[in-house]
Every structure is written in C-alpha cells, then in structure tokens.
Amino acid sequence: MKVDTPAPGRPLTASDGVTVEQVRLARLGETILPPTSLRAGPGEAVAITGPNGAGKTTLLRAIAGIERLDSGSVVVDGIRADERSAEFRRAVASLIGRPSTARDLTVHEHLAIVAMTWGAARDEAAAAADGVIDECAITELRQRFLHEVSSGQAQLIHLALTLVRPFRILLLDEPEQRLDGARRDRVAEILAARLHAGATVVYATHSAALIEALGSRTARIGNAA
C-alpha cells in the first residue's frame, strides 16, 4: 500500500478502519482475552469497555500488532496487524502504557524530534510540536523536562507525542486517566477533531462522559458490571 505524507499531527487520509474477528489470546493456559470481534470504520470511534482485567488493554495490544494471537485475525487499514511492518507502524499511532521518553529533552524538543523521524522537515516539525502543544493546552510545559511534570501533565504530553506523528488509526488506552475534568474535556475535543479529519479511533475507557462526547460505539469485554 502506498502511503502519502501529509503534515505531521494530522491523519494521512481517511482510513479503511479496523476489523477484529474472533480474536482470542491465552497465556500459560489462561484465557486473557475471550473471543472478541469489533469493527471501526473511518471517522468512527469505538470505545472498549469492561471491568479491570477483562482484556481491554490486551485487545488494544492485539490491534497494535504487539500480541501474538491464538486465534482470529486483526486487519488494520487493509494490513494484517504486525508491529514489525513499517507500513503498519506508519498507519497506526498508539498510546498503550507509558512510552519510553528521553530524559534530556524538553517537551517541545521531544515532540519536534519525533515529528522529524516521521519525515517532517525541521521547521515543519517545530510547527507540528507547537500545534499539538497548543491543542493539548500544555504551553506552560513547552520548555520543561519530563521529570518536571505531574502525572496528569505527563499523560497529556504522552498524548501529544502520539498525536504529533502522522497516522490513520489511533489506539489509546484510557486516555482520560489522571486528568482533571477540564483536561478530560480537552482530550475529547482533540479526539473529536481527529475523527472529523477521517481517522479511526479505538480506545479503552472507563469514562462514560468521553464515550458520550465522542459519540462512540462501545465494544464491551467481560461480564461484570
């Protein structure tokens, strides 16, 4: 599949979406993800819900091509999910757990160098970094090192690092965690903008407000309330 190169921080093109069919994972004889299917089309958000330990993060990791499947299939944007594929990685941006960050760069520099590794020229990368900093309302953190921020601020910075690169599919694990009410609303606005631009967003969440704000379909895993 040929991939175009738009400005960093914006989806490439409308995606073909995510198709998960009867995916099941087991480790050491224990089922960690029961057979699960879901479909998320371009410009569509699907919220994965369920109790702690139900397998929400495992499902996201499977879609991100990180987990080995015991059965079923995951196709993302027409590509079989496999994080070893450069083409797949270019299509999918994910924030599942804390990303490995550089301790010696400021927030702005970190965003800019991430954008540069995705093909942005230096000035474009700086502009993209400024763009996501404004969007995530973390202007005051622009010149901070990452050990100088609170856990909620770190969550927003990790989200900015995920958004500063091009993508068609966005995978997020509880993007609302550690955020106060105003910042949760801001995240909802940011994700709504990505959906409007044609990206597919699949996210695990415990926030009914976020689901409602994004008008998401829900895919529930597990039985408990």
């Binding site: 994080e83 450069a86 490995s100 760069l105 590794t117 230096r122 090192f145 995920t162």
Partner: protein
C-alpha cells in the same frame, strides 16, 4: 530527656524492622564464605603476588611515591565529597529514616550508629592499606619500624578526615559539594605541582609521613593530622544535626529502590536511579539542524551538556583512562595489567554518561509507534556523539601522556580502545531485561550458583571490556597490533547488538 532514653526510642523504631531468621543468617554466612573462597581469595592471592614482586618495591621506593600518596589522599577527599551527595554515611532504611528524621530527637543521636560505622570503615580501610605498604617496605629493609608506624597513624587520621568529608558531602547541597570537591582537586594539583605549598595542605601531610625518602620519622605531619582528625570528629555532631530531613529520606528511598531492582537482577533500572536529571540549558536549542544525522548529534551533545557535572566526569574518566593506558605501557612488570584493566573499566563507566541516546533508542522498541525509525537506525543516529566525545576525550588524555614522554603508539591504542568501548556500550544498550529463567536456582555440589549466573549476566559488558581491551592494551605493545585485535572486538559487539535488537521481546 537523657541520652539513654533517646537511644531507647531509636532502638524501638529499629526494632520494627523484621529480623532475619536463623536460617537466613546461616545462608548469608554460607554465601559470604563461598564469595570469599571463589572471589576474594584469588584477588588476595594476586595482590600478594603483586606486593611480592620486585617491581612493586621499586615503585614504592621511587622518588614520586610520597607525592603519589599526597595526590591519592587529596583525591579521596574529592571522591568522598561527591559520593556524599548521592549516598551519604547517614543512611538508614526508608521507614526508619522517615520516622527518625521527623522525630524530635537530635540527628546526632538518630544517625550516630550508621555514621560511626562509616567512619570506622574508612579509617580501617586506610589503616590496612598503610599497614600493608609499611610492612612491605619494612620487610624489604627500606623503612624503619617507627616510620612505618607513623604512616599507619597518619592513615588512621586521614581515614577519619575522609569519613567526615563524606558526611560533609551529604550535608551540603550538590552544588556546594561539587564546588568543594573541585576546590580540593585544584588545591591537590597545585600542591603536587609546587611542593613548597605542602606544609599548608593537609593531604600533603599524609604524603610527608610516607615511610621512605626521609632520614627520620616526620613527627610534625603526624601531630598535625592528629589535630585535624580530632577537630573533624568534634564537628560530626553539628554536621549530623544540620542534615536535611527530606534529603535523608530521598537518599534512603533512592538506595532502597536501587537495592530492590538490583536484587531482582534489573541493574539497568537500578543504575538509572543514580543518573542525575537535567537541570540547566532548557533554552539551549537541541533541535537545530536540517539533516537527521546532525540533528541527533547536536541533540545528544546538548542533552549531555544539560548534566554538566556528569559530562565533565565522563570526560575526565575517559581522558584519565587514555592517560593510564599510555603511561601503563612504561609501568613496571605486574603493575601494567591491573592498570590497563582498571582503566578499561573506568573508561566503560565514563562512556556510559554519553550513552543515554543509545539506551533510549534501544528502549524505543517498547513503544515502536513513537518514532518513525526502527531501533537499529535510531542507534546508528545516536552513535555519532559518544564516538566523537570518546575520541576527543581519549585524545586529551593521550596527548598529555605523549607530552610527558609516553610513546605515540600508545595514544593510537588508547583512542582505538575508547571507540571499541563505545561499540560494547551499543551492545549493552540493546541487552534488554534479564530473562526470568535466570532467576531459577542452579544446584551444584558447592551450592546454588544461580546468583553467580545473574551476576555474570549483569556484568557481562564490563567483564568483556576488562578482559578484551584491558588485556589487549597490556599485551599488544604496538598500535597496529592492538588495532588489529580491537577491530574484531568491534565487529563482535556490533553483531551482538544486531542480534539483540532482532530477537523477540
């Protein structure tokens, strides 16, 4: 409240900590005995061999031996001041520290025991070292008994001073400690260069008490050292009372965390606890070039400069190692190999400060969707800075060595060795976390060797560096031969890094 009542309260807090069972104590004794038999006995035997060698007595009776002792004495104070900022002698487990630092008991009471043990350790170490040197000179008939005894007394006094300097390093802020350490280092260098200043410098008094090169016992330096050791001891209570509670708790937690990670074999995370965070240069432009290669070079250089002290220590370590390699080529007999091995380890440690980019690139495998480049390409981009920094620093050290008469070929070998160590750092960065299978016990007739395997896994890079580079520099006397030996070492390190990056996580 009386002193005994205060101590009883301290004891009550310490009693909360669970004591090991008799079985655990027996195991610790057994492991200690095994360690002594397997590790310390061969080292001790090797040291005895070095001491017995005739070249050692030549070195101990050389013209510069006393000045060398002076430099080492000053260096010990420098190191103590710096170590105190990271791990002071007033250290208890986190819970005890948290309770005792917040209690209404003076710190001269609550932290007296650990500081007392630390002072005893520094004093005993120097006394044993001085006694061994004195005994060797005595047995060779190169020093009379009173002079050797005087040297041991001077060493005991200096051990107290070094211990108190360690505590001072914990009391001062990191900036103040570094300033004090640099001041002592400069004063030591000046004292070594201009012996006329020696009477004014306490570490020079230790050098003056060295039991060779005088016709009689030098009494005044010993009395002067007794005086400053007494003064230092008298200040311990006041220094302890001035220790910052939050900093005591922070150090206790940091070392408890480090111990916990190293206990399960995760030395990478354990050592990360000791790496300083950047605090300066946030307005410096790290991303300024158009090409990725230059961008990563500049970004790594600026990143390193944001922890200037660490960067300076790395430069000194690599330059010092290069200097040692060059000088060792003219050192007498059995001293050469230990010097080369030690220099290799110090150089490996120094280059670690410039390897943050390499480590970050390798760790990026865990969040592959962050960067648009694979870990292998990122590592290649992050490689330029440590290579250039290592070459530049090695050239400084080798240049100094050549200037004082070392052969030029040694300089080329030193620079090649530094570059080789960068290659080993790349392989080490790509190592990843320890396989859980290594935590399984390995039963042998001599007991469980699982711990030895874990230790081997954790220290493979530094052992590899010590064995390959230390021995190459020691054995290969001319530069072309050394470079011919080191080139395959670089190839092996690159191959190991490639394999580690490709294997499934």
């Amino acid at each position: 409240m009386t002193g005994s009542a205060l101590r009883a309260r301290v004891g009550a807090v310490r009693a909360v900590r669970s004591r090991g069972t008799a079985r655990e104590s027996a195991y610790i004794l057994y492991a200690g005995a095994l360690l002594a038999a397997v590790v310390f006995a061969p080292i001790g035997k090797a040291l005895v061999g070095v001491l017995a060698d005739s070249s050692t007595i030549v070195a101990l009776t050389s013209h510069g031996a006393g000045v060398g002792v002076e430099a080492i004495a000053g260096g010990l104070v420098v190191v103590s001041l710096l170590v105190g900022t990271m791990r002071g002698p007033a250290l208890r487990p986190p819970y005890e520290t948290w309770v005792l630092a917040g209690a209404d008991i003076p710190r001269r009471v609550t932290f007296r025991n650990p500081v007392g043990r630390a002072l005893a350790a520094t004093t005993l170490s120097l006394v044993v070292t001085a006694a061994v040197i004195g005994a060797r000179l005595l047995s060779a008939g190169r020093s009379p008994l009173p002079m050797a005894v005087g040297f041991v007394i001077a060493a005991a006094c200096w051990g107290i001073v070094v211990g108190v300097a360690w505590l001072v390093g914990q009391r001062l802020t990191p900036q103040q400690s570094r300033f004090a350490a640099v001041s002592v280092a400069v004063a030591t260098s000046v004292g070594v260069a201009w012996p006329v200043l020696a009477p004014a410098l306490p570490w020079a008094w230790v050098g003056a008490s060295y039991p060779h090169g005088h016709s009689a016992v030098m009494v005044w330096p010993i009395f002067a050292l007794l005086f400053i050791a007494s003064c230092a001891l008298a200040t311990v209570g006041r220094i302890l009372d001035g220790l910052s509670g939050p900093r005591l708790v922070a150090q206790a937690e940091q070392w408890a965390t480090l111990g916990a990670y190293s206990g399960v074999g995760d030395m990478r995370t354990a050592l990360a606890q000791l790496r300083p965070h950047p605090g300066v240069g946030r307005s410096w432009r790290a991303i300024r070039a158009r090409s990725l290669a230059i961008t990563f070079l500049v970004r790594d250089a600026v990143g390193a400069a944001r922890t200037p002290w660490r960067c300076a220590m790395a430069t000194l370590s690599v330059a010092g190692s290069a200097l040692a390699w060059c000088v060792a080529s003219t050192a007498p007999g059995q001293l050469r190999l230990p010097m080369d091995l030690a220099a290799a380890v110090v150089c490996f440690s120094g280059i670690g400060a410039w390897s943050d980019g390499l480590r970050h690139a390798a760790e990026s495998r865990q969040s592959r969707s962050l960067y648009g480049l694979g870990a292998g390409r990122l590592i290649r981009l992050h490689l330029a800075f440590p290579v250039l920094a290592a070459v530049a620093s090695a050239l400084i050290g080798a240049g100094v060595a050549v200037a004082v008469g070392a052969p030029v070929g040694g300089a080329l070998t030193a620079v090649s060795s530094a570059v080789t160590i960068v290659a080993v750092r790349v392989a080490d960065s790509a190592k990843g976390t320890m396989p859980l299978a290594l935590l399984a016990p390995i039963s042998t007739p001599l007991g469980d060797f699982g711990g030895a395997v874990i230790l081997l896994w954790q220290s493979d890079a530094v052992l590899f560096v010590a064995v390959t580079i230390g021995s190459t520099v020691a054995v290969a006397s001319d530069a072309p031969l050394a470079i011919a030996v080191l080139a395959p070492v670089i190839a092996v390190a690159a191959g190991v890094a490639w394999w580690r990056l490709r294997r499934p996580r």
